[in-house]
């Protein structure tokens, strides 16, 4: 049942791709056919995923496709169900959001066919990845996902920067795909077959298991945007249309996480704690650097993309912890960490897509991507403003929203490190927890900047000043996601309980005590050790608010009076006097300066006596090191090799004859 529904979702996505082939110059097709179909697909996927997640036992089927000896097999178990649910929710939101958003493409010739067609394929690809039960189908779906998202990244291919981003993205996706393929190759060679069932049963030698893990880690990590393989992500995600960015950041990264979990926990099975440490360290570094990079961005979508790197880092940190616990034989604790990680994945999907949709909304209204030209939008786009605020609070992991719940669980898992026998691990895990704490604090800073600069203060440009309200669909989509953020945050027990099924499947343990005190209390280990009651927190805040209002709000007080902002007695304040995003980020830029490659130019022209500065110009370029440390060297290497090789083709026929002459001689000499 659930499986059929899931397949129906795939078909709906494909259908939306097909119908939008007719969308050339007819945007109505996109608005009224393909996006509703997407919404339908998302709904079906969400329902199917939810059923599978709650249902427990896996369902399998075979598609009439694939190789003669390796037909496509699909399987829907709880893990697949979870991620199908994620895909479904966001897809549904996009289906609602889309029609209003694409209406800006009504004028001018935009390749609408491309947009609709590949969006459908993209979503179908992601759903198939989650459903696949053999490596061959997995790879096909995976690359379908990459390829179609690539075509969406180059949607605005007039700007050279976007083309470059697209190329980089495609290249990295391909390399990652090949790495994953190699990993599956290892598994299949020993498992004697490319279907996952065969891989599950086989026991690899520790060495080969580690090889397979390393390949999967690199491959999926590349897609998930782990540092230092992340450089493509902030280039590619922002340049796509915003609802696509939402899908890429919100969902595609999760699909990568899915692949990693599937391969590591399910297919390889015997987890070694060494892998856990690797994932732990890489994850925490990604989290920290991700948020630090995000802090310095002034392009709203770039900022969000970088913060995705951070959240993926947090997820992998949790997964790493789970691996450490499992590798050392503490399945119960492993379950806590795993649930925390998966819960964070779920939450990140919600709030990151919420934020990207909000950003898309803002960008569509202001036609600006640069935060420095926004401002004061809260009063102009009130709905978006409120929803974006909720998203920001969730991603900054503030109670009582969902981001906090999952981060809290992660911390609780980290605190169990004391139970480990190995002293090194007992030190490493608290240390990574400290990194996580720093990350959390920085993410608060980062989103204070984002929200404050975009929505508060005075508008910094004419377009921002004249931004007007948006289509209902777009508000609705954001509203829905915001509501989910709140619900998942206030009733974490529901999700945690469901995720218990997943941890049951993967670690053989579930967080039994987590929900034993009823829906009100979340107690990962035991009620005396740690407890968190999000509902009561919410009630408490509201209660306190109400009390204040009742007690302290003076009766019959004269209502507020509006007055000018205090300008210290100098003339009136204008928008250019307020803090910019760059200046807001300056202290942290100064504190963590070694993290970036900063080149800052200040040109000061002062008058003759050099006291009064007549003109002042400031340029700032903040870029991350991985370019100069990793990517450019490799590119240069290839080019140099190519130049060397090119000497083979130097044009003189006699040399060519000499080649075959000597080839002959050498071979003859070899064989005799």
């Amino acid at each position: 049942m659930a499986l059929n529904l899931a397949l129906a979702a795939v078909l709906a996505a494909l259908a939306s791709a097909i119908v939008s082939l007719a969308a050339h110059r007819r945007i109505g097709v996109l608005k009224w056919l393909s996006f509703p179909l997407l919404g339908l697909s998302g709904l079906a996927a969400a329902v199917a995923g939810g059923m599978a997640l709650a249902g427990g036992d896996a369902q399998v089927a075979q598609l009439p496709l694939g190789l003669p000896w390796l037909p496509w097999q699909v399987r829907l178990d709880v893990l697949a169900g979870l991620f199908l649910l994620i895909i479904g929710i966001v897809t549904f939101a996009v289906g609602i959001f889309g029609p209003g958003y694409v209406s800006e493409y009504e004028h001018g010739d935009h390749p609408l066919v491309q947009l609709g067609f590949f969006t459908g394929l993209f979503i179908a690809g992601m759903q198939l990845v989650v459903l696949a039960n053999d490596a061959f189908m997995f790879m096909i779906a995976w690359e379908l996902m990459s390829l179609s998202s690539y075509f969406l990244v180059v949607f605005h291919h007039e700007q050279a920067a976007n083309r470059r981003a697209g190329f980089l993205y495609l290249l990295m996706a391909h390399v990652g795909g090949l790495t994953i393929l190699l990993g599956y190759g290892v598994l299949a060679t020993f498992g004697g077959g490319f279907d996952f069932d065969a891989m599950r049963v086989v026991e690899l030698t520790p060495l080969w298991a580690s090889v397979a893990f390393a390949l999967a880690f690199i491959g999926f990590g590349m897609k998930a945007g782990l540092v230092p393989l992340h450089a493509w992500l902030p280039e590619a995600h922002p340049v796509a249309p915003s609802h696509i960015s939402a899908l890429m950041s919100g969902v595609m990264l999760k699909v990568a996480v899915y692949g990693f979990v599937r391969v590591t926990f399910d297919l390889i099975g015997e987890v070694q704690w060494g892998w856990g440490v690797t994932a732990l360290l890489v994850g925490s570094v990604s989290a920290l650097l991700g948020i630090l990079y995000a802090m310095q961005q002034n392009d709203l979508k770039r900022l969000l993309a970088y913060s995705s790197i951070e959240n993926v880092g947090v997820i992998f940190l949790g997964l790493g912890m789970a691996m450490v616990f499992m590798g050392t034989g503490h399945e119960g604790l492993g379950a806590i960490a795993l649930i925390a990680a998966l819960f964070h994945a779920f939450n990140h999907a919600l709030f990151k897509s919420l934020l990207f949709l909000g950003a898309g909304n803002v960008i569509q209204r202001t036609h600006e991507q640069n935060m420095e030209r926004m401002g004061g939008l809260l009063t102009r786009l009130p709905y978006t403003g409120v929803f974006f605020l909720i998203g920001s609070m969730s991603i900054a992991s503030l109670p009582p929203f969902n981001g906090f719940a999952s981060e809290w669980l992660t911390f609780q898992a980290a605190l169990q490190a004391v139970a480990l026998e190995n002293g090194v691990l007992r030190i490493v895990i608290p240390f990574t927890a400290a990194m996580l704490a720093l990350t959390g604090a920085l993410s608060v800073a980062c989103f204070v900047k984002a929200y404050g600069v975009v929505f508060l203060g005075q508008p910094r440009s004419r377009r921002a000043r004249h931004a007007r309200a948006t289509a209902w669909g777009m508000r609705g989509a954001q509203g829905m996601l915001a509501l989910f953020c709140l619900l998942a945050g206030v009733f974490p027990n529901v999700m945690v309980g469901l995720l218990g099924n997943v941890s049951q499947l993967l670690t053989g343990a579930r967080m039994a005590s987590a929900t034993q005190h009823g829906w009100l209390w979340l107690t990962p280990v035991s009620s005396t050790e740690a407890s968190y009651s999000a509902p009561l927190v919410l009630i408490g805040i509201l209660l306190a608010w109400w009390l204040i209002w009742q007690l302290l709000h003076p009766r019959g007080a004269r209502s507020v009076r509006r007055g000018k902002t205090w300008d210290c007695g100098f003339g009136p304040l204008n928008a250019r006097m307020q803090y910019t995003g760059t200046s807001f980020a300056m202290p942290l830029r100064r504190i963590f300066s070694p993290v970036w490659r900063i080149d800052e130019k200040v040109e000061r022209q002062s008058e003759a006596e050099g006291l009064r500065v007549s003109r002042l110009s400031h340029q700032l370029q903040v870029s991350d090191h991985s370019w100069y440390a990793l990517y450019e060297p490799i590119g240069r290497l290839v080019l140099v090799a190519a130049r060397r090789i090119a000497r083979l083709q130097q044009g003189n026929i006699r040399v060519y004859i000499a080649y075959s002459f000597f080839t002959l001689l050498v071979l003859l000499w070899l064989i005799s």
Partner: protein
């Protein structure tokens, strides 16, 4: 937990909120004495608050709804945070609502809205204050969390009540980890509650101010709530320090006598720490803003040392 427990929790929270201004003025008085100035009466902060509540609110014309609701959120969340801290007794049902990590979360919420409110009007001051606040606390918060980790690892719990209970029952044990944690927490407390040498609540000097810069645009009851929340914050840190590291006298069961002892004990301890703070603020000078990170790094380092020394020195497996 019985209804009595909840009632006690409510009373305790009320006491906490009510007593917060008292601690501030107590520190101020001590400072005055130390600097042989005449000190205001102990009721002065209450008078100020009352006055502010009565005064009319003047809002900048480009202040958004967020600006108006921020004070309420800030105050409410701070009160909730206070309510989850065992002041007199460890028999506190509210501690189960939020453990120490959630407490840090509450402080983060407060900071989040303070900073947003600071940026809302769109003056240079507000933005500057917000920027400094988030930057500095971005360093303070991890230190605080590390302190909490150290405690949690010793006490096998992040629940404040049971932690205090544990340390109380353990009696006088000299733990290197707790020593480090204490000093770390002290530094963090100074930074978070905006005291010298990190920030000076008494001045509005644009080069140095952090907290004041954010609430510069506030007036009337909004300002009152903000001020009160700040005083609560100071109190929260004070209580945390005294009740965790010097848990003696705290009531561990719900008997009138025990509660009375607990009340007296916590008042004495707070008075003492007030004196210490006053001494410190008199002795030290406000440091430059960009010296503060080193200060907080020190705090973080201490906390980390605490955690590590716990793992290395105190656990035996």
């Amino acid at each position: 937990m019985t209804w009595a427990g909840w009632l006690l929790a409510l009373l305790q929270a009320a006491l906490f909120v009510a007593a917060a201004p008292l601690l501030t003025i107590w520190v101020k008085r001590n400072k005055c004495w130390l600097q042989n100035r005449r000190s205001p009466s102990l009721l002065q902060p209450y008078r100020d608050l009352a006055k502010l509540f009565r005064k009319q609110v003047v809002l900048s014309e480009n202040a958004s709804p967020l600006f108006r609701s921020a004070p309420y959120i800030v105050f409410a969340v701070t009160v909730l945070a206070a309510a989850t801290i065992p002041l007199i007794s460890t028999q506190l049902p509210t501690t189960a609502i939020a453990d120490m990590i959630v407490l840090v979360g509450f402080l983060a919420v407060v900071r989040f809205f303070l900073a947003l409110a600071g940026m809302d009007v769109g003056t240079a001051f507000g933005g500057m204050g917000a920027s400094r606040e988030v930057s500095l606390s971005a360093l303070a918060e991890p230190a605080l969390l590390m302190v909490i980790f150290t405690l949690a690892m010793s006490a096998q719990s992040t629940n404040l009540a049971s932690t205090v209970q544990y340390l109380h029952d353990a009696g006088l044990v000299l733990r290197p980890s707790l020593l480090f944690a204490l000093f770390g927490l002290l530094l963090v407390a100074v930074a978070e509650s905006g005291r010298i040498p990190v920030d000076n609540p008494a001045t509005h000097l644009e080069l140095t101010m952090v907290h004041e810069a954010m609430i510069l645009e506030y007036s009337g009851r909004h300002l009152a709530l903000m001020e009160w929340a700040a005083q609560l914050k100071l109190m929260i840190f004070g209580v945390l320090i005294v009740n965790i590291f010097f848990p003696w006298g705290v009531a561990t069961e719900l008997s009138a006598a025990a509660l009375l002892i607990g009340l007296v004990a916590v008042l004495v301890k707070l008075a003492l720490i007030g004196v210490v703070l006053a001494f410190a603020e008199t002795a030290l000078a406000k440091m430059r803003v960009f010296m503060v990170p080193q200060f907080l790094n020190l705090a973080f380092l201490l906390a980390l040392l605490g955690a590590l020394s716990h793992v290395i020195l105190e656990v035996d497996i």
